[in-house]
């Protein structure tokens, strides 16, 4: 204990004696530890932290999947009921579906609603904060108008009023009684602000809310959750559900052909999109931390030169090798802890900043930040890095030849840790090159994505969600959207306005199966319901035929406008105008194609357009829509009050929600890509800066070490440019080796981020070359300064030891 205290006291004194060294080393480590801690706090909360439900590792998400492609889909009510009846692996199952509805009152508000089976709340095992959750008796007609609300809605809309229970609210113009309030962070489906039961124990279909859904096998709209029985593994559950899927496929070949059942752990299902991104970023920050460690190890090695005499004297006076290493390691660990504390402070400040860039999956999955666990992790990380970067210099010094160090005159030896330092620099350059290439590839992908033609013109477009109650008839809806559209067009500053069931790049999708004449093959198309003006408002071009018109109403020929992808895929080499889509959707409708429009990137800018079919509001029913308003102003949001008033002039109970510009919609769809790109860019920049500092440090040290040699060379005829060339050549050869090793490693490592790339190969030669040139230029700059200093060596001074 006494030795530790003595070592610590001495370490403090040593660090205080050289504040410049201490500051540089601590800041270098702080940057590495801050990056690692910040990203790990996200990984911890999003990937490692258990969900806030008892035994959440046993909760799974069950879904219909397409057997050939493995793509997941929602589940049909009839299949859900069969799964429920036939499985022996789940102790509980529940179904839910989300949609949006109007919460009435003085301030009508559009909120996210989940219709759930009564088993939903018991399955997640969370008790209500107030009142009770849904019970089986709430699932009978006449008793189903009860609601459980989220903690956030209770606070925001009802000021956390504890007397709210049993009070009535208006939801889509119908009265519901609030029976319970859930605690904070209850969001199993990442959607609901308010939960209601279904009168049929299975959530109703949003388009036909009044129909008993239990027989629907071709309408897939349910999210299904289940809890594994104790002792049942995920693999066992998958096997059994696969057997059930094959049985149902045989029993219902029309609806269940190639329908498999996916069983995914709940946490996995929620974070599957962000997991690879976070792992890539975690890898990146570990690289930054390693570079930081290499830098500090280099600083310590350089400082070791000045300390070899001290160490030799200690050894001569009886210090053991282990004792010397222990003392030197105490200094490194103390330095690392100092850097660690700085790093944790930096991370505490930086995490909220990073979160502003983060995609919704990361922001909404819990309280990301520097908590006690992260604090402990940060300190352990500091301890580990202290040992990591301190070990090499400590061994180096403790192994020095005692006599030589004591005898050593002013000339000194030229090889003091030289090879170790060179290896560290090569490693730093290599690691930063890998990061830089990763960043380069994601930046290039981002640029490629930005260049993708979305199929519409997002400039000057204002968009928002608006919805009539689901009880409204198709005629009432058609009338409403027509009147609202007309009232918009009277507004100064508005050019055009249209409505659509699903806005591009806003998430959510719905598809329908169909056939074409003379072909037994089944197709699937994404369905959109729109007003005639929607296409012109969005700037979607007509390729053949016509747009939808105001004459496409109930009673007239059912018509459809399809996109180019559908036209070319289902009618190759033919003119699709006048042809029919058969057996369209569960109603097996026959729709005549009247127009072909350009492809729209609906799911994502980087995802190829699906088949799309646009139906008119006059002939199809959709309870909630997005409206698009093309304005004449550069700030479409300035028109929001006028637009809101125009909607209210038609129906005072209809609220607007998700009011945004279309540019914002496009930007949000790119958020995850931008987050990855920005962070990789920041970490790569940091890595390059640290590597440049490392290279500069090594070359400066080398110039000091070689002053005598340079003096001799100058005395023998070397000119300034000879010396400059010699020093730069040495530094650039180190950087060159680092670049070559980094390029070789990158060929393998960039495959790991291939899923984050778009339109660029993981081994894109242009990026590799550009990054290598960039890094060599930075290395040249880092070399030039010490090389320049070397040319100023005065041979007389250098040789004065004579």
């Amino acid at each position: 204990m006494n030795t530790i205290l003595t070592n610590l006291r001495y370490a403090f004194r040593v660090l205080r004696k050289s504040p410049g060294f201490t500051l540089v080393a601590a800041v270098t480590l702080a940057l590495g530890i801050a990056s690692t801690t910040a990203i790990f706090s996200m990984v911890d909360q999003v990937l490692l932290h258990s969900l806030p439900y008892p035994h959440s590792d046993r909760i799974v998400y069950v879904s219909q999947t397409d057997r050939p492609t493995g793509e997941g889909d929602a589940t049909s009510p009839a299949n859900y009921l069969d799964w429920l009846a036939q499985n022996r692996v789940f102790s509980q199952m529940a179904a839910s579906r989300g949609w949006q509805g109007n919460l009435g009152g003085e301030r009508p508000e559009r909120i996210r609603i989940t219709m759930a089976s009564a088993s939903f709340f018991p399955l997640f095992g969370v008790r209500t904060l107030l009142g009770r959750s849904l019970l089986p008796e709430d699932e009978s007609p006449g008793h189903d108008h009860v609601a459980v609300i989220s903690y956030a809605l209770w606070k925001r809309r009802f000021n956390a009023d504890r007397a709210l229970l049993n009070q009535d609210i208006t939801l889509n113009n119908e009265k519901y009684t609030i029976i319970g309030v859930m605690p904070p962070n209850f969001a199993p489906d990442n959607h609901g602000e308010l939960w209601v039961p279904s009168p049929w124990s299975v959530p109703a279909h949003p388009l036909v809310p009044s129909q008993d859904p239990r027989q629907f096998r071709s309408r897939n709209y349910l999210d299904v959750w289940a809890r594994l029985k104790p002792g049942v593994t995920l693999q066992q559950a998958r096997s059994e559900m696969d057997a059930i899927a094959r049985r149902l496929e045989k029993q219902y070949p029309d609806d269940n052909r190639d329908v498999a059942i996916g069983v995914t752990g709940m946490q996995d299902s929620l974070v599957s999109d962000v997991r690879p991104v976070l792992y890539v970023l975690l890898g990146a920050v570990v690289f930054v931390l390693l570079i930081g460690c290499a830098n500090v190890a280099n600083l310590l090695l350089a400082r070791g030169k000045g300390r070899s005499r001290e160490v030799s004297i200690r050894a001569a006076l009886g210090a053991s090798r282990a004792g010397l290493i222990w003392q030197l390691l105490t200094e490194s660990v103390l330095l690392a802890l100092l850097g660690g504390l700085l790093g944790i402070l930096l991370a505490a400040w930086g995490v909220p900043v990073l979160l502003t860039l983060a995609p919704a999956e990361i922001r909404e999955l819990g309280a990301v930040g520097v908590n006690t666990e992260i604090l402990v992790l940060g300190l352990l990380l500091s301890l580990a890095t202290g040992i990591l970067f301190g070990l090499a210099p400590a061994f180096h010094l403790a192994n020095e030849n005692l006599q030589e160090s004591l005898k050593e005159g002013e000339r000194g030896s030229t090889g003091h840790g030289g090879r170790t330092r060179s290896i560290l620099v090569v490693a730093e350059v290599g690691l930063s090159l890998i990061l830089l290439i990763g960043a380069g590839l994601t930046i290039k992908s981002f640029v490629r994505v930005l260049r993708v033609d979305p199929g519409f013109d997002p400039t000057h477009l204002l968009v928002f969600s608006v919805g009539l109650p689901s009880s409204a008839t198709p005629a009432q809806q058609d009338n409403f959207y027509r009147q609202v559209t007309e009232s918009f067009q009277e507004l100064p500053g508005v050019q055009l306005a249209g409505a659509v069931s699903r806005l591009p790049l806003s998430g959510g999708n719905s598809s329908r199966s169909f056939k074409v004449p003379g072909n037994d093959r089944g197709y699937s198309a994404d369905i959109r319901v729109s007003t005639p003006e929607y296409f012109r408002t969005m700037g979607i071009p007509i390729i053949r035929g016509r747009f939808l018109t105001a004459h496409d109403i109930e009673g007239s020929t059912p018509v459809v406008v399809v996109n180019e992808a559908l036209a070319e895929g289902a009618f190759p080499g033919q003119d699709p105008i006048g042809k029919f889509l058969l057996d369209f959707g569960p109603g097996s409708e026959k729709l005549q194609i009247v127009g072909v429009i350009g492809n729209v990137r609906h799911v994502g800018l980087e995802i190829a357009p699906h088949y799309e079919a646009y139906l008119p509001f006059g002939q199809a029913h959709w309870p909630s829509v997005f409206m698009a308003v093309r304005t004449r102003t550069t700030d479409p949001l300035a028109l929001v009050p006028a637009v809101q008033n125009a909607v209210w002039s038609v129906d005072k109970s209809v609220p607007l929600s998700d009011v945004r510009t279309m540019h914002d919609v496009v930007a949000r769809s790119l958020r995850q890509r931008k987050f990855t790109m920005t962070l990789l860019g920041i970490f790569a920049g940091l890595a390059v800066a640290l590597a440049a500092v490392g290279l500069y440090g090594v070359m400066s040290y080398s110039v000091v070490q070689r002053t005598h040699e340079i003096g001799i060379r100058m005395a023998l005829g070397a000119q300034q440019h000879d010396v400059l060339k010699m020093v730069v050549q040495r530094g650039m050869s180190l950087a060159g080796v680092g670049v070559i090793l980094g390029v070789a490693a990158s060929f393998g490592l960039t495959r790991l981020i291939s899923h984050l790339l778009f339109g660029v190969s993981p081994s894109d030669p242009v990026t590799f070359l550009a990054v290598a040139v960039l890094l060599m230029s930075v290395a040249l700059f880092a070399n030039y300064i010490p090389a320049r200093r070397a040319t100023q060596v005065d041979p007389m001074v250098a040789l004065r030891c004579e």
Partner: protein, 235 residues
């Protein structure tokens, strides 16, 4: 060959201007073997540095083969030295990481001489100094005398007109010193002008002319008996 006229070298110190060379007037003729002697701090090495064109901070006139060195820029002086001057040091100053062959090649590497020609010149020199067997050894594997032999070989490989030696035998025992000094005599007889700095009278005996320095002043020159003695200068 070389004329120094009223050459002075001084440093600024906290106590004021400190002169290390005072009003030096020296005429070095082609083929001379000059020995510079004097007590420590007399200015011997400073004079050698000026002659070697390593030092730029002097005042006065320096003529090298009728070229006004005092009017030249640093780069021109460097070029002049590179072509005409060879240096031998007391501590040999061989580069530890280079072999004997590479050390000897070093001055040539700073001239525009084709690689092949350089190889030939190095081979000749190794032969001439009888150190062929040592060509691949590193300095640490040689004795002091062998290291100085390499130092001399390196100094003369480019056939300099002027060879400057600063205490060339200071670190050697007497038999090695004799060997080196005989080598200098041979070089001198072959036409190389030599200026050596030494404390040793026996080494000075190899030279044709001796000058004495004290406190920066040139106080005696065997080629110029009329030079004012130090006592007179001090007065």
């Amino acid at each position: 060959m070389i004329q120094l006229k009223n050459l002075e070298r001084s440093y600024k110190t906290a106590a004021g201007q400190f002169f290390v060379l005072r009003r030096i007037n020296l005429d070095i003729r082609q083929g001379e073997f000059i020995t510079v002697m004097g007590p420590s701090g007399a200015g011997k090495s400073s004079l050698l540095n000026v002659l070697a064109l390593l030092d730029d901070g002097w005042q006065g006139e320096y003529w090298f083969r009728d070229q006004a060195v005092h009017d030249m820029r640093r780069k021109q002086r460097g070029e002049l030295a590179k072509r005409n001057v060879g240096m031998v040091f007391q501590s040999y100053h061989l580069l530890d990481d280079l072999t004997v062959r590479e050390n000897i090649d070093l001055p040539l590497s700073y001239k525009d001489i084709p690689h092949k020609q350089r190889q030939g010149m190095v081979a000749d020199t190794l032969d001439r100094f009888q150190i062929v067997a040592k060509k691949d050894l590193f300095p640490s594997q040689l004795s002091g005398g062998q290291q100085q032999l390499v130092g001399v070989a390196r100094a003369v490989i480019h056939k300099p007109a002027l060879l400057l030696a600063d205490e060339p035998t200071g670190n050697l025992h007497s038999s090695q010193a004799k060997e080196i000094m005989e080598l200098f005599r041979d070089l001198n007889q072959q036409g190389t002008t030599i200026v050596q700095v030494t404390h040793s009278d026996s080494n000075a005996a190899y030279g044709s002319r001796t000058i004495q320095l004290r406190d920066g002043w040139m106080v005696s020159d065997t080629a110029n008996p009329e030079l004012q003695p130090y006592e007179a200068i001090k007065q």
